[in-house]
């Protein structure tokens, strides 16, 4: 277990602009290692933007500018010697809509390994082991072990989403970012993914963006409430929901706006 009180992610005075629009304003947070932290807030508050900063995937768009610092596991990810490839290996992301690649289940899981190793170094047996391990970890092995050649895009949505989590695992990520991972899923699927998160907690640091406040309440250790690009409140989830310090937080969790 990694719940040792260390910080996995620290941002200092982080600001981000889309063109001339400032989407993040002076964000300074500390996310604890091995825990589940949820980012909540109304649409457009910057929670997804913040999440996408953590593996610098925002930078794929030209009009994005950032200032301030982000440290992940003690390393400033804006340092010039940081390789985006290595960063994204360590900080994986799960999207709102499951996005399995249009190849087989098996190839989806080993995709990361394949692109990070020389072809000769990969033995079939190692790949097989990795697939079984990753799919077992997300609870898909029993259902899919006889259908590894099936197209990933033909699975049920919930299975697709679990597969997208499984796809990250062979690369041994340290942080898993989830951007509303359940919004395309029904109640059962949502429960399955949440259980999944509890399984993964401790071994991985999980940051989840969610619109669903009850999900944040059920599934996370700490919550960060954001509004208009600023962090309004960051506390243990039960404290944030039971005794919010900021009146804005109270109004939001009571559903007065958002």
């Amino acid at each position: 277990m990694r719940e040792n009180g260390r910080n996995a992610i620290v941002t200092r005075g982080l600001s981000l602009w889309y063109g001339s629009f400032q989407a993040l304003i002076d964000v300074s947070i500390e996310v604890k290692e091995g825990q589940i932290t949820s980012l909540i807030g109304p649409s457009g508050c910057g929670k997804t933007t913040l999440l996408r900063c953590f593996n610098r995937v925002n930078e794929r768009y030209d009009y994005v500018r950032t200032s301030g610092g982000i440290e992940i596991l003690g390393k400033n990810i804006y340092d010039s010697d940081v390789s985006l490839v290595e960063l994204r290996k360590a900080v994986g992301m799960v999207f709102q809509r499951p996005n399995p690649l249009p190849v087989s289940v098996y190839e989806n899981v080993v995709f990361g390994l394949r692109i990070h190793s020389k072809r000769r170094e990969l033995k079939r047996s190692e790949l097989d082991t990795a697939v079984e391990k990753a799919l077992t970890e997300v609870g898909l092995w029993k259902d899919l072990k006889d259908r590894l050649d099936a197209r990933a895009t033909s699975l049920q949505l919930e299975q697709q989403q679990k597969l997208c989590i499984a796809r990250l695992l062979p690369l041994k990520p340290e942080v898993i970012l989830m951007d509303e991972p359940c919004s395309a899923l029904d109640v059962e699927g949502t429960r399955a993914i949440e259980e999944q998160m509890f399984e993964l907690k401790g071994r991985y640091t999980i940051v989840i963006v969610t619109h669903n406040m009850s999900q944040a309440r059920r599934a996370s250790d700490e919550s960060i409430f954001m509004l208009m690009g600023r962090v309004v409140e960051h506390a243990k989830t039960e404290d944030l929901f039971l005794n919010p310090r900021n009146p804005k937080t109270l109004e939001y969790i009571e559903g007065r706006y958002g």
Binding site: N55, V57, R60, L84, K89, R97, L101, P102, I115, C164
Partner: protein
């Protein structure tokens, strides 16, 4: 005062509604007739050509060379010439076009240089073929001293087809969902790995279709080859698959059609028509194979 509508008369057609429904029926038939009218010319052309060309049609016409001052015989020399021109021009323009499109669509960031390139591509696609012809004459025949040759003509055709190949390839590439690229980026794949593993396999059918459709364009254009490398007549031996070299001039179907229709007196009437049938037939065959290829490749991808 409003009168109360009895239940039995509720939801029935009023006059206004009936009129609108009539208008909609008329519109449907008129529009349908127009789209049918579009098919008629094609059918008419094919039937008319086949009817006129009938006396000359046959394998013999394709395999034999023109004889007696092109008044008799076949079209082998022109047919092979067109194969050379089309094959060589696409061998030049397809790789350049596809690679350029990949750069523009996958790598290039928004900048004034890119907007300039985009504008150049669009405008190049709109340049009339006769202007391409003149450019080819100046640039390749005289400028680069390739002379009147298959090489000059193919390069001219390549420049003509390039922008369209770039445009169709970009379209095929952007049809690949962004989610796939995100998925790759988030396991740390480089852009090139993403392109190779995901983008190309899922857009190859569209890319190939775009290229194949340029075959018909390259085969049909007359002016560019006439200015740069096609001749009225060239003696080759019957059925010879390799009668020309790169530096030679050659015959071409489109040019031959022009020649036998307007330049040579007393040609047997069916010969120009049969030439047109061969030209049209090969183009339709190539287009059909593009469609088959696309269906086959699309059958293998699902998302």
């Amino acid at each position: 005062m409003e009168s109360v509508t009895p239940p039995s008369e509720r939801f029935t057609r009023t006059h206004q509604v009936a009129r609108r429904e009539r208008a909609q029926t008329v519109a449907k038939w008129v529009f349908g007739a127009m789209s049918l009218a579009m098919v008629l010319p094609l059918v008419a052309i094919i039937v008319y050509l086949l009817y006129k060309a009938w006396p000359s049609l046959g394998w013999e016409f394709l395999a034999d060379i023109p004889r007696k001052g092109m008044r008799e015989g076949g079209i082998w020399s022109a047919f092979v010439g067109t194969l050379y021109l089309v094959g060589l021009s696409l061998a030049i323009s397809a790789p350049i076009g596809v690679l350029a499109a990949i750069y523009l669509n996958e790598y290039a960031r928004e900048s004034w240089l890119n907007r300039l390139i985009n504008m150049a591509v669009i405008n190049l696609a709109g340049v009339p073929s006769i202007v391409h012809a003149l450019f080819g004459l100046g640039a390749f025949v005289y400028g680069a001293r390739f002379g009147f040759s298959i090489l000059s003509a193919s390069l001219t055709l390549a420049i003509m087809t390039l922008p369209v190949i770039i445009a169709s390839t970009r379209e095929a590439l952007s049809a690949v969902p962004r989610a796939f690229r995100d998925a790759c980026a988030n396991v740390g794949a480089t852009r090139w790995q993403t392109i190779r593993a995901v983008v190309l396999p899922n857009s190859i059918s569209g890319i190939l279709t775009g290229i194949i459709l340029q075959v018909s364009r390259a085969a049909g254009e007359t002016a560019p080859v006439m200015f740069t490398g096609a001749v009225f007549f060239k003696a080759v031996s019957r059925g010879d698959l390799f009668p020309y070299r790169l530096g030679d001039q050659c015959m071409a179907l489109s040019m031959h059609l022009y020649t036998v229709s307007t330049q040579v007196p007393n040609v047997k009437e069916s010969i120009p028509y049969a030439t047109a049938v061969v030209l049209l037939g090969s183009v339709l065959l190539v287009n059909a194979s593009a469609i088959v290829l696309r269906i086959w490749l699309r059958g293998r991808k699902k998302w």
